[in-house]
């Protein structure tokens, strides 16, 4: 990148700058004319110069085109007009000049804006592109948030400046010179006064502004660090809470804000001082005009029209001048910012752009072996972690690597995965240095996985397929407006030197999946399912699906299948004589395993039915309850429940585990109910206040007879509840009805999860084995119906959150491994991908992954750095590292016989 921003702008926008300069120059002609016209109007028609007799006429619009070298090339005699006519015509001319001037302004500003935005786009992309090309060592020292703040905010002023970079000085300078010339032409002395004042402004003000620029630079750096700090706090929020250091972080950020405040306040002070001076100087000049011009006018050596014209022209002078000074300030300001940003992004060892060249088809490359030659790797502290290791890995080998002391094996794996660059020596894929090969070879022939998982915000599926998105495989199809839009996108991208790859095209390359039987898209699906299976993630994904809710409108087919699955499950349960497992929702039957509230509403509510739910909070609910004649019964039942609860729970400390048995009750509630009961004494429930009544009714609504066994729910009350369902619903106002979604055996419920939709009933509480039994039956039925794959598809849409934070650590590690297994590579490097997971799981996964990859007909090499050395029995070859050197290397059986470190460790 150029050192000087002006040069950068000039190099990338030269033709456009020249064009806009020409337009600006042309716009000077009407501008100058409009300066002259007021004088003509005042001196001519108003004061009567040339109209001394009533019938006198003057030519109008007579003009002569004079060019500096060619002389007069055209003369127009004009129209003869009277005094009034001339006034109207000249004023009309003035109006048209105003319009023309403004049109020029409009065109120039739009053009400059577009120019600036294009350059901004170019520079932002260039910086981002550099981020992608940073050497690994550099990446470790930078803050993501700082980079983001630079690319997003710090370069922003460059765009605004670009349009003005050359046009502004030309245009404003032109205007200033024009006004200056005009004043000089009118009166030499007044012109001289103006010129002196201008010189003072031009010299003094920029000097005062140097301090402002320095302050601006400090502000930029502190603001950038603040962005970095905030990013850090967000990333490390867990650590902060764990160690109770939140107040330390508060102090830190408050201190930074204080610094920024101080700098900004300094800036304001200086800014307004400069402004004050500037304004003062600007207004000092008219003082001289009035004094000196008035003197000349009194003396008669200057006519009043001239004086008015001079003052008029001067009115136009300070603003271009001030803007010119502003421009210079902006130039210095953006130059400083530019240097700041440029320094951050400028290195000698950026990755060569050719390495990243896009390749839609994997190039044929015979990389039959992966070799490290005299490899030396130093860590950040300069300590040698790998000391001159040489090793050759042939195709088809399965190699276990492990460290005795040190981390040589890990370092070697990192180097194979290009995560670190060697200090000396090299890694060769086939005959070439892996760092010199394009990533389209090195990044596809080799798959690298470590415990350092990173995921992008999006769905599980997007992340799983991430490793296949090398280049657009199938272009997106556009029609009509969309096609025009796409053409526009391509044109604009090219104008700003951005790549025009289509992000909406299909990027997932189905030719490089690990399972590649059919050569079509089913390979992706099969590879994906297989990979998930091998890392034991399928069950988690099913759980995601079962606990998700779906928008019925956008998934009509799936929703229909869920309802079909519901019927199939219920049929299966009935036909196998296990109807006791589940109590389905039936319109005319009281569901004894559901709460009273659920039975009354006979539907799913968006919010759970607790104190805070809009439904229970509303008066309408209780009015409706009274109308269907249930309010009294519910209050009385509630009082009985309250009595029992108080008896059972009174005196228990609030953290007593028994409160878990009744999720709707807390120790505070117990005290509250106790007070209600005491106050009521032996009186009837009518004595309760409305609020107390509602609290008691809530108890009834949560009650499930088989669960709590208080014997308060009699058959006639049940029948009454079932009978009241429809009327109760009808009594509710529309906005509350909208909160309830009725149970309908043939309809999907949007408020309920997939699991609730499939079950469509309550699992029998009494039967201890019911949940697992139902799960088994449901699994069988869903596999038979092919519904299983649909569920997986829903689960794969699970949003994993920023950086995959909605997944557990174990799930993240498994997903990370699965992401590599989907890809077809010649070399798989697994660098302790599952640290800290239990032994049995590790062994199962390692063994399954090995079996899975060995099935590939491209005969891949598998390298696994083991944290659990006993798993080396699954590999053919074992390489032992000690203090950064390879100490043993051989077949598993051989090494086990030899008496070395390996034998000692395995034994």
């Amino acid at each position: 990148m150029e050192k000087n921003l002006l040069r950068y702008i000039w190099n990338h926008t030269r033709p456009q700058q020249i064009w806009v300069l020409i337009v600006v120059l042309v716009s000077m002609i009407p501008y100058f004319l409009s300066l002259d016209l007021p004088k003509q109007i005042i001196n001519g028609p108003i004061q009567g110069a040339g109209f001394e007799t009533p019938n006198a006429t003057q030519p109008f619009m007579e003009f002569e085109i004079n060019l500096p070298l060619l002389g007069s090339i055209y003369t127009f005699e004009g129209f003869q007009l009277g005094r009034m006519q001339t006034l109207v015509a000249l004023s009309g001319g003035f109006l048209s000049l105003v319009i023309i001037n403004n049109f020029f302004k409009y065109y120039i500003n739009t053009y400059k804006g577009r120019l600036g935005e294009r350059l901004l786009r170019r520079i932002r992309f260039e910086l981002f592109d550099r981020v992608l090309r940073f050497p690994p060592r550099r990446i470790k020292n930078i803050h993501g948030a700082e980079i983001a703040s630079m690319i997003k905010d710090e370069v922003e002023p460059f765009g605004g400046f670009t349009g003005d970079a050359f046009v502004q000085p030309a245009m404003l300078g032109g205007q200033a010179v024009a006004a200056m010339l005009f004043i000089l032409l009118q009166s030499f002395w007044l012109g001289l006064v103006a010129a002196v004042m201008v010189l003072v402004q031009v010299i003094v003000i920029p000097r005062m502004r140097r301090r402002l620029i320095e302050l601006g630079r400090q502000r930029q750096i502190t603001a950038r660090h603040l962005a970095g700090k905030v990013g850090e706090v967000v990333e490390g929020i867990g650590t902060i809470h764990a160690y109770d250091t939140s107040n330390y972080e508060r102090a830190d950020v408050a201190n930074r804000l204080g610094q920024i405040f101080k700098i900004r306040y300094d800036i304001y002070q200086w800014k307004f001082l400069v402004k004050f001076l500037n304004n003062f100087l600007a207004q000092l000049t008219p003082f001289f005009f009035y004094l000196i011009g008035g003197y000349f006018a009194l003396r008669g050596s200057l006519d009043v029209g001239q004086l008015v014209a001079v003052i008029n022209a001067y009115k136009d002078l300070p603003s271009p001048l001030k803007e010119l000074i502003d421009w210079d300030q902006a130039r210095q300001d953006v130059q400083v910012k530019y240097e700041q940003v440029r320094d951050y992004f400028e290195f000698d060892d950026l990755i060569d752009p050719a390495t990243h060249a896009i390749a839609s088809v994997g190039q044929p490359y015979s990389g039959e072996q992966l070799a490290a030659i005299n490899l030396v790797i130093e860590d950040e502290g300069g300590v040698r972690v790998l000391n001159g290791a040489s090793i050759r890995l042939a195709r088809g080998e399965s190699v276990a690597m492990a460290d005795n002391i040190g981390r040589g094996a890990e370092a070697l794996a990192e180097a194979f995965g290009r995560q670190v660059w060697p200090t000396s020596g090299k890694i060769c894929l086939g005959d070439h240095d892996i760092l010199e090969l394009p990533e389209s070879i090195a990044g596809r022939r080799v798959s690298y996985v470590s415990a350092d998982t990173y995921f992008f915000h999006g769905s599980l599926k997007d992340n799983l397929l991430y490793g296949l998105k090398h280049a657009p495989v199938e272009p997106a199809q556009y029609e009509g407006d969309a096609a025009n839009q796409r053409r526009w996108e391509i044109r604009e991208a090219q104008m700003a030197s951005n790549p025009d790859f289509d992000v909406r095209a299909s990027w997932v390359d189905h030719r490089t999946t690990s399972i590649s039987d059919n050569g079509d898209k089913s390979d992706i699906k099969n590879s994906l399912l297989a990979a998930l299976d091998k890392v034991q993630l399928t069950d988690d994904i099913l759980q995601f699906a079962l606990h998700s809710t779906l928008d019925a409108q956008s998934n009509p087919q799936l929703v229909a299948d869920v309802v079909a699955m519901r019927h199939a499950l219920h049929n299966e349960i009935r036909s196998t004589g296990r109807s006791g497992l589940i109590v389905p929702f039936e319109p005319q039957v009281y569901n004894k395993e559901a709460t009273v509230g659920e039975n009354l509403l006979f539907g799913k509510t968006l919010q759970p039915l607790d104190k805070t739910s809009a439904l229970l909070d509303s008066d309408h609910f209780y009015t409706a309850l009274a109308k269907v004649g249930l309010l009294r019964a519910f209050v009385d039942t509630g009082l009985t429940i309250a009595g029992n609860m108080v008896e059972i729970f009174s005196g228990l400390p609030p953290d007593h585990p028994f409160f878990n048995q009744v999720p709707f009750l807390t120790a505070d509630d117990i005290v509250y109910y106790q007070q209600i009961l005491q106050k009521l004494g032996t009186r009837r429930s009518h004595a309760l206040s409305a609020e107390e009544e509602r609290a008691v009714v809530r108890l009834t609504l949560e009650y499930i007879e088989p669960r709590y066994r208080l014997g308060v729910l009699h058959d006639d009350l049940r029948e009454k509840i079932v009978g009241a369902r429809e009327i109760f619903f009808a009594e509710l106002p529309a906005h509350l009805r909208g909160l309830i979604e009725h149970y309908d055996p043939d309809a999907y419920m949007s408020y309920a999860t997939l699991q609730e939709n499939i079950l469509f009933g309550k699992i029998a509480n009494r039967n201890a084995d019911a949940p697992s039994e139902i799960r088994n039956i449901a699994a069988r039925v869903s596999r038979e119906r092919g519904f299983y794959h649909q569920l997986l598809r829903v689960g794969l849409e699970f949003d994993i959150g920023a950086g995959g934070r909605r997944l557990t650590l174990v799930q993240r590690q498994k997903l990370n491994l699965a992401r590599a297994l989907i890809r077809r590579s010649d070399f798989y490097i697994f660098n302790k991908p599952l640290p800290g997971q239990e032994r049995r799981l590790q062994e199962e996964i390692v063994s399954d992954v090995l079996t899975y990859l060995r099935q590939q007909e491209n005969n891949p090499t598998i390298v696994w750095v083991l944290s659990n050395i006993s798993l080396s029995k699954l590999f053919e070859r074992v390489v032992m590292f000690d203090n950064g050197e390879i100490v043993e290397d051989g077949l598993y059986e051989t090494l086990r016989e030899e008496s070395g470190i390996f034998k000692a460790l395995v034994a």
């Binding site: 585990p657 028994f658 066994r709 009494r766 201890a768």
Partner: protein, 151 residues
């Protein structure tokens, strides 16, 4: 069967005879009501144990699984408790409990139980005494078996 009936039943058990009504109600409330069909297992030998079962109706047989086959230990009817050892100590189930008829039982969770014991000190004594009696009973049986072997 309602909660109050369960409380009456629990009161008849030697373990809980001393416990006041409120605590018993709490225990009953915090416990789960479960039912089993004939042949269903309440728990299996070797599983981790976390609860005892008070049989409210039906019959449960406890069986010892040995390498040579199953040995029936005894049948447990209404008002008996199975699997209660695990309420007091860690460890695996030492036998398997299987429903012979339709069984209704109260599943007392270990955590709830220890919490109740923790809150009522004289119950600890009662439980210890009951266990000691069972131990003597078991020792007697063992002696009898040994005596038979010598004969």
């Amino acid at each position: 069967m309602l909660l109050c009936e369960e409380v009456q039943l629990l009161k008849k058990l030697p373990y809980f005879a001393d416990l006041d009504g409120c605590k018993l109600k709490l225990l009953a409330f915090a416990s789960e009501r479960v039912s089993y069909e004939p042949g269903q297992k309440l728990f299996k030998q070797g599983d981790g144990g976390d609860s005892a079962y008070v049989i409210l109706s039906g019959t449960v047989e406890t069986v010892l699984e040995t390498p040579t086959g199953q040995t029936k230990i005894r049948e447990n009817g209404v008002n008996s408790v199975v699997g209660e050892i695990c309420l007091l100590c860690e460890g695996e189930r030492t036998n398997t409990a299987k429903a012979l008829t339709h069984v209704e039982a109260l599943k007392i969770n270990k955590d709830c139980f220890s919490r109740i014991i923790h809150d009522s000190p004289n119950m600890t004594m009662r439980v210890t005494r009951t266990l000691a009696e069972r131990l003597r009973h078991t020792a007697d049986e063992l002696d009898t078996v040994k005596a038979h072997q010598f004969v």
